[in-house]
Symmetry: C2
Subunit: 258 residues, 2 copies
Amino acid sequence: MPTARFDPALPPEAAPAAEATPAFLPLYRQIKALMLRGLQEGAWRPGELIPSEKDLAARYRVSQGTVRKAVEELAAENLLVRRQGKGTFVATHAEERVQFRFLRLQPDDGQQEPMQRRFIDCERLRASAEVARALLLATGDAVVHVQRVLSFRGSPVVFDDIWLPGALFKDLTAQRLGDYRGPLYGLFESGFGVRMIRADERIRAVAADASAALHLGVDLGAPLLSVERLSFTYGDVPVELRRGLYDTSSHHYRNQLS
Amino acid sequence: MPTARFDPALPPEAAPAAEATPAFLPLYRQIKALMLRGLQEGAWRPGELIPSEKDLAARYRVSQGTVRKAVEELAAENLLVRRQGKGTFVATHAEERVQFRFLRLQPDDGQQEPMQRRFIDCERLRASAEVARALLLATGDAVVHVQRVLSFRGSPVVFDDIWLPGALFKDLTAQRLGDYRGPLYGLFESGFGVRMIRADERIRAVAADASAALHLGVDLGAPLLSVERLSFTYGDVPVELRRGLYDTSSHHYRNQLS
DNA sequence: ACGCATTTGTTCGTATGTATT
DNA sequence: TAATACATACGAACAAATGCG
C-alpha cells in the first residue's frame, strides 16, 4: 500500500467530486476505498458487524490509527455505525431507530411519529424521457412506478410518486409493499439488495392538481410542497426517483443549516 | 486539565444536544470548549489566523494531537477553516467564497450566482408575541424589521422579512444596508459583532398574499415557498428571525440528504 | 530559482480509559 | 472478573503546501 505521488498539475478547484482519478490518495483514503468496495460488493452486509480495527489493520497492513481515520469518515457519511465496546456495524435502514433520516416532514406541534401508509398503485411501465434521464436509463426501459399516501393521525399528508429501475426491482409487487413492515428503504435493502446512501432533493411550491387534491383532500389549486428526490446507492448510482407532494398546512419541512 | 468522571446515570439517549451538563468531558472537548469561549468573546475574530497547533498545545498544556481533535471538530462545524501550510482561521461570512452557505435557492438551469438586492424597508418597532418568542425577547421589546427583495437577472425571486433584536443592532439603518457590499451576514459580523453560525429552517408552501404578489410579480394566490429561518450565534442564542417567500417557478430549494 | 522555516496533513507506535459481553 | 472493542491521549517522524529571503 505504498504512498505514490504522481498527480502532475490538477487545477486547484478541478476535482468535481466525481472521478478525476487523482492518482494519489492518502493511505487512509485508499483503505476507505477498499472498505467501500467491500460494502458495495456485499462482503459486509447491512446490519452486520465488520472486523475490529485491529483485524482491519492487520488485513490491510497499516496501523490501527490509519484504519480508524478511514472508519471515521465512513461513519461520518452514515455508511458505518460505531458502538463503543461492541464494534462497528454496517448501517441499515431496517431496524434503524432513525426512521426519519430521509423524511424531513414534521408536525408543526410535537415530534415526528410514524405515519400510516397506503399503497395506491404499483405497476411496471416504460420510462419516460424525464424518468430515464434521472435514473440513467434509456427512454422506454422498464421501470416500476409506485404511488402511495402517508397519513398522519388519519389525515393524508404526503402523496408520493416513486420510480425505480425495473432491472433492479424485478419482483416488486403491491403485495410485497403491503406486507412489509418498516421503512420502504428497509425493504429495498433486504429484499432487493439496493441500499440508499444519499439523496438530492429539489423543493418547490406548486398548486394541487386534480389527482393531488383527491388523494390529499385539499382544494384544487391549494399550495403544496413538491419534493423531488433522486436517491443514490454506492458509486453515486441513482436508483430511485421520487416526487412527493406534501400538504404543509399543519406540517413543515425541517432543515438545519450549518 | 484532569479528566474527572462524575456523570452518574444519564439515560442513553437523554442528552438533547442542549445542556445536560455531563460533568465529564474528554480532554479534547474541554479544549474545544475553551477555544469556543475564545471565539465567543472575540479573542479571535472572524477572518483572523489563530495560533498554530503547536502554540495551542503549549498554551493549554496538552499534546498537539489533542488540540488537533478539538480544532477538527470546530472546523467540521464551520467555525474554523484549516489551510495546509498557512494555518487555521476563524470562519467569516465576509470574504467567504461560499456566499451560498445559507441560501439554498438555485436556478433550475445553471449554477448559483449572486442576486441583486433591493431594500424596501428598515424600521424599528416593538416585537410581536411571535417574534419575541422566537428571539427570546419580551413582547414589546425593540426589534429591527427589514424587508428586501432579491432578484435574479432582473426578476424578483425572494421576498424577505427579517427581524433582529434591537439591542444588538442599534445603528442598523437603511443607509448602512444599502451601502454594504457583500452578504448580509458579513455586515452583521463586521458591523455589529454578531456572527451567525447555525440556522433552523421550516419550509412550507403558501399562497401569495397581496404584498408578496406585488413584490414578486406573481398572481394573488400563486404558490410560494415559505422559508422561516431562525439563526443562532454562539451558545445557541437566536439572533435573527427571517421569513422568506420564494418564487419557485424557475428556481428550486436544494437540499442534500445523507 | 532555490532553499528554508512554518503550518497543517498523514502515518506509525504505545499506553490507558470506557463500554460491552 | 476477564476479554474485547472502540475512545482518548501522548509522542515522534515525515509529507505537502505555503511564504519568505
